[in-house]
């Protein structure tokens, strides 16, 4: 038997699932005592190169409120051609096409290695992918130029049959017509006026074609495609659009001194959503919003155009001094929900030195599965490469993105689902397996995940509902089935089904087993997600207190200091950004976010991971820190001096050159795979950017205890934060003194 570690790894590789507990306490009471709920991180579209999709449709349990998919855990009577649903125990006959089924001739979905299987649904027309660029033109000339180039470049990355559209905005919002020859046409909307979807569609002339549709039959997407002049296949308007982008001007309205440019982001998004809503509902579409500043007018305004009024800070928010916050948030949430309903996801690419209103707009991406990318300028490789990576392809040459996903969770009777945390919205599907307790987005067994990629990971929380007095029979297994329907980037509709099972264990008798089945990493991430989820809606200190009550673990030290829970030193936008990514990345990445990784390079041996502690900062080391969002290469004092002296240029110090190069190479490797691309920082002892490192490490040495510890052992951190040592001491005291 393998170790739990191996088991967990195996499961993750096969099914993309990591449970906090791999043995489940068999009763509600016991489960509650475990503090960490039975929960899992699920990556619906985990890349499975060895998993060819099958070309038929899944067989469903015939019970109306079950509809579970036939899976390897089902009991099958090959002779009777009947299978029993392992969730509701309904006995179902096989469909006629399974007539040839037998012990030796089993369909793939019955084989154990296919606990995760993907079906291709042939029904319905293949819907093209849609990319709608929504571009802010209130940019600096340089930024705009860079953005234009990126956009032009992206056209070549799009699948030729994909539909593409362009909306630009500044003071006005322009929807560009792409089908025209000669004169470039665009429809213009006033940036200050909140329009209903119907108005927008009327104004864009989208309502008339309805006549063309035959009675009683909704407009097929193709028809819409033919009639919608704003969304055209890339291959047809490639040149046109390239020119159009090339001629894109900065917003021509003068910006008086002391004012921000008027930016109608709210209306632009409203138009984008309305446009897609009217033309391609329930078709995979991606609204890509590029902004260079905060919305300054109209609905969704985040800050006024007076420069003397700074954009809201956490301080303002806490003091309830952010006048536009609630209104804007509400506005964007409404938009996000509409968009999610139609299966369209919204990306936000915000590149500005100041805040851009991500706090208010985050829901757009969070609810629709879109990306948020935050950078300083569109003219940085961070943006350029990240943007490029959006269109990266997998080993099959397909885009690493999927649309319109619907994730359904089915559980066996002893288990109910409390909720999910991730880039999804509830579909309000009440089923027997929905718990009354909500954790995250609850009250449903189905969630919509409009935009998916292979790393999109949801935290899903369960509740053991089995009563203590009705123990699960020995050897009983609980099962969970994840059914993910989505539109593949090659326009196919697919269904991926993952069915997993875990053993029940009696907490009283088998507590050690349960304990050993604990997946610390998964639990940490899942709890962190809960914390972040709460932090989004509650006051910071309360969340910390809750977390402290709930958990006492190593990771929590860093989690407490992380930007996900701490807003100090972070702008509201940054917090939103970090949290956005935290609730969607897979476990590995999430761990990095919570506790950055620190590697040390020296002449003394190969690179080694070192403690994230100030004591690791030594003069003769090069440090490489990966916080997910930043990649910091830190040259120790001596190394920095050597480098400045240029030793690496001398042949006799080839080894030094190699030492310098090593972290760069490693960093490059990370940079190439990470999405979004982290901020790459190359600094040295005393450099201003060293703060990125110094703010992360455990302040075991500060100006307070500097001399107690001795100077040669590391670098002191100028902070009043408690060190891990202090934290632990305190924790121990607490743990022993009383059970809160």
């Amino acid at each position: 038997m393998t170790t739990y570690q191996e088991f967990i790894q195996q499961n993750e590789d096969r099914d993309g699932v990591r449970f906090s507990w791999n043995l489940w306490p068999s009763s509600r009471l016991e489960a509650t005592r475990l503090v960490v709920p039975v929960s899992c991180l699920f990556t619906p579209l985990k890349e499975r190169p060895n998993l060819p999709p099958v070309q038929y449709e899944p067989v469903l349990c015939s019970r109306a409120n079950c509809k579970a998919v036939l899976n390897p855990l089902c009991q099958v009577d090959f002779r009777a051609k009947i299978w029993a649903c392992n969730f509701c125990f309904q006995r179902n006959p096989f469909p006629p096409s399974y007539a040839g089924i037998s012990d030796v001739n089993q369909p793939a979905e019955l084989m154990p290695q296919f606990s995760t299987i993907e079906y291709i649904v042939q029904r319905g027309p293949a819907a093209p992918l849609i990319f709608l660029y929504v571009v802010d033109t209130c940019l600096e000339e340089e930024d705009l130029q860079a953005l234009k180039e990126s956009l032009q470049m992206s056209l070549s990355l799009l699948p030729p049959n994909a539909l593409v559209g362009l909306i630009t905005f500044g003071r006005m919002v322009q929807v560009h017509e792409l089908s025209c020859e000669g004169i470039a046409k665009s429809y213009v909307f006033r940036g200050t006026k909140d329009l209903t979807a119907k108005q927008i569609q009327e104004m864009l002339g989208l309502t008339k074609p309805a006549v063309a549709g035959q009675q009683g039959r909704p407009l097929a997407p193709q028809d819409a495609a033919a009639t919608c002049k704003f969304l055209q296949p890339v291959h047809r308007v490639d040149m046109n659009l390239t020119d159009l982008l090339g001629e894109l001007q900065r917003d021509p309205w003068p910006v008086p001194q002391g004012k921000r440019p008027l930016r109608s982001t709210g209306v632009a998004l409203s138009v984008a959503v309305g446009l897609l809503e009217g033309t391609f509902p329930n078709t995979g579409a991606r609204v890509m919003l590029f902004i260079g500043g905060p919305p300054t007018q109209g609905p969704g305004m985040v800050v006024g155009d007076e420069l003397k009024t700074p954009i809201r800070s956490w301080h303002d928010i806490q003091k309830d001094n952010a006048r536009h916050l609630k209104k804007a948030t509400k506005y964007y949430e409404a938009l996000a929900n509409r968009s999610a309903t139609n299966g369209h996801s919204i990306d936000i690419y915000a590149c500005a030195l100041d805040q851009t209103g991500l706090l208010e707009m985050k829901c757009l991406s969070n609810l629709t599965g879109g990306h948020i990318v935050m950078g300083d300028s569109f003219n940085t490789s961070l943006f350029k490469q990240t943007f490029q990576r959006v269109f990266s392809k997998d080993y099959n040459g397909d885009f690493r993105m999927a649309f319109g996903g619907v994730l359904e969770v089915k559980t066996s009777r002893e288990l109910k689902v409390c909720g999910a945390i991730g880039p999804c919205v509830s579909l309000n599907s009440k089923s027997p397996c929905v718990s009354e307790n909500e954790l995250g987005i609850g009250g449903t067994s189905q969630w919509k995940v409009c935009g998916l990629n292979p790393s999109t990971t949801l935290g899903i929380y369960f509740e053991v509902v089995n009563q203590h007095n009705a123990p699960v029979p020995q050897g009983g297994r609980g099962a969970v089935q994840f059914v993910t329907q989505y539109q593949h980037s090659n326009t196919q509709r697919r269904i991926r089904v993952t069915t997993i099972a875990r053993n029940w264990a009696d907490a009283q008798s088998q507590i050690q087993h349960i304990e050993s089945s604990f997946d610390q990493e998964a639990a940490a991430v899942l709890m962190a997600r809960l914390g972040v989820f709460r932090a989004e809606s509650e006051e910071g200190p309360d969340v910390l207190r809750w977390l402290d009550r709930q958990l006492i673990r190593l990771f929590m030290f860093h989690l407490r200091r992380s930007p996900f829970l701490q807003v100090f030193n972070n702008s509201p936008d940054e917090s939103s950004y970090y949290r956005h990514h935290f609730v969607r990345q897979d476990l590995t990445q999430s761990l990095i976010m919570i506790q950055p990784i620190l590697y040390s390079y020296s002449f003394h041996g190969p690179p080694e991971p070192v403690l994230l502690d100030s004591s690791s900062i030594l003069p003769d080391r090069i440090l490489l820190m990966d916080t997910f969002f930043q990649l910091v290469i830190y040259h120790g004092e001596t190394i920095a001096q050597w480098r400045k002296a240029g030793y690496q240029e001398m042949a006799e110090y080839e080894n030094f050159k190699q030492l310098l190069q090593a972290p760069l190479d490693d960093a490059q490797e990370i940079l190439q795979t990470r999405f979004p691309m982290p901020r790459y920082i190359d600094t040295e002892h005393g450099g201003s950017q060293a703060r990125f490192l110094l703010s992360k490490v455990n302040p075991s040495q500060t100006h307070n205890n500097l001399y107690a510890w001795g100077q040669e052992t590391g670098a002191p951190i100028l902070t009043d934060d408690v060190s891990l040592q202090v934290f632990m001491d305190h924790l121990k005291k607490l743990a022993v003194s009383s059970s809160a």
Binding site: S186, V188, M203
Partner: protein, 1231 residues
């Protein structure tokens, strides 16, 4: 006749003007009498029903008459109506007679009243011979006599003659001239031969006669006869002796009647039918008539009575006779009457008059008994009108059947005439008396009168004898030889129809300001008594001819123009420098203001500044100041203005070709944007918008390879989608703009969008200007009623049923308030809107025009626009509109000296308070009429001063002040007021006043108001300035003798009296158009210019003829222009050679009446004609499309509408009728 009279007048003119005035009046008087006689005739005609009568006669002659009758019939009743309120309302036949009766009665009473005094002296002799009616007639005539002293004699003669004729003549006369009309009447006349007068006097007579004869025919015929009758009689009378004078008046009426015939081209034809020679006759008649007139004149001048007589005898009589004879025989019944009417009429009348005269005398008693009471005489007047009508109607039909009878009847008319003659006689005698009033200045009047009278006396209300606009115009031309200098206060300038040069010597040129009165009454009481409107028509940016220097620009430096401290009047020649030049006293408010040091200058010994003549503001009437930043909006120097073109691209617009034409034209037109310095590039920027239900803005920034279109669908809340790249410099963005203009027609070639918006279109332009922070002009090219859902959406509310009701006014009011508030916003921004309409149906001009009218813009309307035929007109208008000099964001203020105040303003502008006229745009064609009222006494010494200051932004973006100063005299004697006013300007004021009035009052009430005021003006003159004379005499002030004819034109205009085919849009359009016309434009609009072009010589204009069908010769070609329309009327029997020269075809039938330009032929006539047309077009602010009208073609109906001296199809009175009516009104006022 008129000509003759005028000519004589002319000769005396300088002095004799008064005399003229009187003469003019005299004719009127004469006209009355004549009218009466005619009236009776007409009345009779009416009784039967103008139509019936006409018809009845025609019925007998149905073949020809039919066509003509219907038309004529309608008009006739209508005419009556207009002429006399009651008639119109009443059914033509029955009511008409009654009305006439009434009129006649009233007139009669009037006459009765007057006769005694006036007639007493002159008439006695004459009148006695004649019936009482005659006496009455004589009463009115007297006035004429004065003018036409000779005429009176003539009249007497005529009377005698008539008497003579009556017995013998009636038949003959009837035979020739009015044979037709008379023919019908003849029976009557016969019956009443003795009572012929009665027939005249009374319409009844005819009726009575009718009984004997077929009533209907007789009726109509009778009138005709009357008409015809009178003329002949008059002629004869003239020949004979004094009677003519009275007859002259009658002649006028009669002449009117004759006119009908000419008008009735058809009738002639019909006549021609009967009378082979007809064709000839008609032509000659006309010529003769004219000739005859002239001839008489000379005689008069030379040897009043004898010559005139001789002349008449020789000239008219022969012609008349000649004409009559031919006519007589065939038409004797109808033809005679009709055909003769035109040409022969003149002659005929005379002959007839004699005839009629007697009958009248006798018959009157019988029928007239009632009429005789005195009414009869009045009726005569009616008759003429009726005659005219009847002539029209009957001509065709009556011609044949009626003739015989009518001929006989004519005598009856003559009788009427006779009645008139006496009056005239008396009038003449008296007239001279009254003239004295005038005469005071013109001692020679008597002489003139003597000569003049003689000729006029020939006929009764002969149109030629009533004041002729042409005569007045020609006289003024002849009189004006020197440049007009503005230095003399209170001097009336030459008429607008006269070419003259102006020298600015301290008052504004009449091209900038024209006043109704150059001698203002000193007190409000006087002003009220006279009722003469005190107004000025100001055209601040008028274009000056090349030989007159434009206003000089004065720069007073940083402190800005020097102004009076109290009233803020600008430095001008009226400022009196005192204290050695250290201060100046304001001429307006008398406040003393310090002269700023930098402006100080010593005074010379006369108290003038030494630099007086070096400074425009001290020596000139018009000049400009450079304004400082204080005079700018927001205290910021203005940006150069912008032009925005907003083009409707809905289905109709594209299909009609409009879009294509506009786009093509703009490509070249953009090089001609207005600029002050012809060398420099225009500073005006341009922008483009197209629209249907949504708006498309275009980015034409020079850096773009292709224009970009930006669609704004949110029309409910209009905004401008772009700033940079929308308004561009033409040269910089030329390529992009051309590309755009090429592509617009293509883009919308297949459009199916039929709905349009309008409000948002203007809002868009306005917003664009706001965004660019500049003033400017919007050129909107629009096709249809904006029914798409948007602000300013309109519904079709054209409801013909409302016309004539009290609710009619609502049709002229905007149907929604949206545009009014929009206009206000536009004005605030200096956004002027020019609207080009291309409607195929009702578009509600009244509402769409609100913004253009309030912003100083123009509305152009091209109904049923067809690219091929209307392109030229539209393009020329567009070109001119784009290129013309225009100022923006203008504010005009009129300051006046103490005592009067500008109280009311008319024109295209907006006013937010009571003094400032705000004009978003002010171009060189826009005139503003300002009315003044007394608020204190004026002094004769200082006169009345006015200063019109217009602050505006020039097309190069310079802020300027244009100042026009005007000083007029003040008088304490009414006579002085009447001596020095300008009828054309008064009409301009009246028309604007009336056209605004219909917004708030029933049209009918407005018309009555006009008539009343006019009557009061004239009555006041009569009462206070004219020498005592018979009340029956119509005496008009010389300066205002055209007031009735012009006023009648105003009353008959489509706006105040719409025909059935005049759409509400047309009326609203005209209403708005006229509100900003200057005097020259209103003049030609209301009294179109009609030129014979048979004998054109390049370089000289032929003398115009009066706007009456009677003046048209079948063998002639005439050019008629109204400022909006241009017609080339081609007679049916024009010589082939002429046709060949003009049209390139010898055949009348091959002339393409759809042609809009004449073929280019290499012969002097063609060249001269085309030059003439070109020069006409060049004179007018709007391009006139040439319409070729062939005689008897359907299009002739349209053409006839502009023959304003005739009855109009919509019921407008003929000149003669109206004059009679006016006379009646005046007499009522006087009694």
């Amino acid at each position: 006749m008129n000509v003759n009279q005028h000519t004589p007048m002319a000769s005396p003119y300088g002095q004799p003007q008064p005399g003229y005035g009187q003469p003019g009046y005299a004719p009127l008087d004469g006209s009355y009498p004549a009218p009466y006689a005619p009236y009776n005739g007409p009345a009779s005609a009416y009784q039967p029903g103008a139509p019936p009568q006409g018809y009845s006669p025609f019925t007998s002659f149905p073949s020809k008459a039919l066509a003509a009758n219907p038309v004529s019939d309608l008009p006739s009743p209508l005419d009556l109506g207009p002429a006399r309120g009651p008639p119109t309302s009443g059914p033509p036949p029955v009511s008409a007679p009654q009305q006439y009766n009434q009129y006649s009665q009233s007139q009669g009473s009037m006459q009765n009243g007057p006769p005694p005094p006036t007639q007493a002296p002159p008439r006695p002799a004459v009148s006695q011979p004649y019936n009482q009616g005659a006496m009455n007639l004589s009463g009115p005539h007297p006035s004429y006599p004065q003018h036409y002293g000779p005429p009176s004699t003539m009249q007497q003669v005529t009377n005698q003659m008539t008497g003579m004729q009556i017995t013998s003549g009636p038949p003959t006369a009837a035979g020739p001239g009015y044979a037709p009309p008379h023919s019908s009447q003849p029976p009557v006349s016969t019956g009443y031969s003795a009572a012929a007068q009665a027939s005249y006097t009374q319409a009844p007579p005819p009726v009575s006669s009718a009984p004997t004869q077929p009533p209907p025919p007789s009726g109509p015929a009778a009138p005709q006869q009357y008409y015809s009758g009178p003329p002949p009689s008059s002629q004869q009378p003239f020949n004979s002796s004094l009677p003519p004078t009275s007859q002259q008046q009658q002649q006028f009426t009669s002449s009117v009647t004759p006119q009908p015939p000419p008008q009735q081209t058809l009738p002639p034809s019909s006549y021609s039918g009967p009378v082979p020679p007809q064709s000839q006759p008609p032509v000659p008649p006309v010529s003769q008539a004219q000739q005859s007139f002239p001839t008489p004149q000379p005689p008069f001048s030379s040897a009043p009575p004898p010559v005139s007589q001789s002349s008449f005898a020789t000239g008219p009589p022969p012609s008349a006779q000649g004409s009559f004879p031919p006519q007589g025989p065939p038409p004797s019944s109808q033809p005679g009457s009709f055909p003769p009417p035109g040409p022969p009429l003149t002659s005929a009348p005379f002959s007839q008059y004699p005839g009629p005269m007697p009958p009248q005398q006798q018959p009157p008693p019988s029928q007239p008994s009632p009429y005789h009471s005195g009414q009869h005489p009045p009726r005569p007047q009616m008759p003429p009108t009726s005659m005219a009508q009847s002539n029209h109607l009957p001509p065709g039909p009556q011609g044949p059947p009626g003739p015989p009878g009518p001929l006989q009847q004519p005598p009856s008319q003559p009788g009427m005439q006779t009645g008139y003659p006496p009056q005239q006689n008396g009038a003449f005698g008296q007239v001279r008396g009254p003239q004295p009033g005038y005469s005071a200045p013109y001692p020679g009047q008597p002489n003139y009168g003597a000569p003049a009278p003689a000729p006029p006396a020939q006929k009764r209300l002969d149109p030629d004898a009533i004041p002729s606009p042409i005569q007045v115009i020609e006289d003024d031309k002849a009189k004006t030889t020197e440049p007009f200098t503005t230095g003399v206060r209170g001097q009336a300038p030459p008429l607008v129809t006269t070419n003259f040069q102006v020298q600015d010597q301290g008052n504004a040129s009449p091209r900038f300001i024209r006043c109704t009165a150059y001698n203002m009454p000193c007190t409000a009481d006087m002003a009220k008594q006279s009722q003469v409107p005190l107004a000025a028509v100001i055209k601040p940016l008028a274009t000056l001819p090349p030989d007159e220097p434009p206003p000089l620009v004065v720069d007073h430096g940083e402190s800005g123009p020097i102004r009076c401290n109290r009233c803020k009047a600008y430095m001008c020649p009226y400022m009196q420098f005192i204290e050695g030049g250290r201060r100046f006293q304001c001429g307006f408010c008398s406040c003393v203001t310090e002269v700023p040091p930098h402006y100080f200058q010593h005074l010379d010994h006369t108290g003038k500044r030494v630099d007086c003549y070096d400074r425009a503001e001290l020596s000139l009437g018009s000049y400009e100041f450079l304004a400082t930043v204080d005079y700018c909006k927001n205290n910021k120097l203005p940006q150069p203005p912008a032009f925005i073109f907003l083009i409707d691209v809905s289905y109709n617009a594209v299909k009609s070709g409009m879009v294509n034409i506009v786009c093509q034209e703009l490509k070249t037109l953009l090089d001609c944007l207005p600029r002050e310095n012809p060398e420099a590039e225009s500073a005006v920027r341009v922008g483009f918008v197209t629209y249907n239900k949504v708006l498309h803005f275009y980015n034409v920034k020079s850096s773009l390879a292709q224009p970009q279109m930006m669609v704004v669908s949110d029309v409910s809340d209009m905004f401008v989608p772009l700033l940079d790249g929308f308004l561009v410099n033409v040269n910089e963005s030329r390529q992009v703009i051309e590309s755009l203009l090429d592509q617009i027609p293509e883009m919308f070639a297949d459009t199916r969008e039929t709905e349009t918006v309008f409000g948002p279109v203007i809002q868009a332009g306005l917003e664009a200007l706001k965004a660019a922070d500049c003033a400017g002009k919007l050129f909107v090219f629009h096709t249809s009623l904006p029914i798409a859902e948007a602000p300013g959406k309109l519904k079709n509310r054209e409801d013909k049923k409302l016309i004539g009701t009290d609710k009619e006014k609502s049709l002229f009011q905007p149907q929604v308030g949206f545009y009014s508030s929009l206009a206000k916003e536009c004005v605030a921004q200096g956004c002027c809107v020019d609207l080009f309409l291309f409607p195929n149906q009702y578009v509600d001009v009244a509402t769409l025009g609100v913004v253009p009218v309030s912003t100083g813009g123009s509305v152009y309307k091209y109904t049923y626009f067809q690219a091929q035929s209307d392109q030229e007109r539209f393009l020329n208008d567009l070109r001119r509109d784009v290129q013309k000099l225009v100022g923006f964001d203008a504010v005009m203020r009129v300051r006046t000296s103490t005592g009067i105040r500008a109280t009311d303003f008319f024109g295209s502008f907006y006013m937010s308070n009571t003094t400032d006229v705000e004009l978003a745009g002010l171009d060189c064609d826009k005139a503003i009429t300002v009315e003044f009222k007394h608020d204190d006494k004026l002094s004769e010494e200082t006169g009345a001063l006015m200063q019109c200051a217009v602050l505006y932004t020039s097309c190069s973006g310079q802020r300027r002040l244009r100042i026009h100063n005007m000083a007029v005299n003040c008088c304490s004697q009414l006579a002085d007021l009447y001596r020095n006013c300008e009828t054309d300007t008064i009409i301009n004021y009246f028309s604007k006043y009336a056209f605004r009035g219909i917004l708030s009052n029933p049209t009918k009430a407005v018309r009555e108001t006009l008539v009343n005021q006019c009557a009061q003006i004239l009555a006041c003159y009569r009462k206070n300035c004219a020498s005592p004379s018979s009340a029956g005499q119509l005496i008009l002030p010389e300066c205002m003798k055209l007031l009735p004819v012009y006023l009648n034109c105003v009353l008959k205009s489509d706006v105040l009296l719409p025909g059935a085919d005049v759409s509400l849009d047309d009326r609203a359009y005209l209403r708005q158009l006229i509100s900003c016309m200057d005097v020259a434009e209103t003049h030609v609009f209301f009294y179109p210019r009609l030129l014979p072009v048979m004998k054109l010589e390049s370089g000289s204009l032929p003398v115009a003829v009066r706007d009456s069908e009677e003046r048209l010769s079948k063998g002639g070609v005439y050019l008629l222009e109204t400022g909006l329309h241009l017609f080339l009327w081609v007679g049916a029997s024009v010589q082939q050679e002429l046709l060949l020269n003009i049209f390139g075809t010898p055949s009348f039938s091959q002339i393409d009446s759809n042609m809009t330009s004449l073929p280019v032929l290499d012969n002097p006539i063609s060249q001269a004609l085309r030059e003439l047309i070109y020069s006409f077009r060049a004179q007018r602010s709007r391009y006139m499309k040439l319409m070729v009208v062939k005689q008897e073609d359907r299009a002739e109906l349209i053409f006839r509408h502009f023959l304003v001296e005739d009855k109009s199809a919509s019921g407008g009175a003929s000149y003669v009728d109206f004059l009679c009516h006016m006379h009646k009104e005046i007499r009522q006022l006087l009694s």
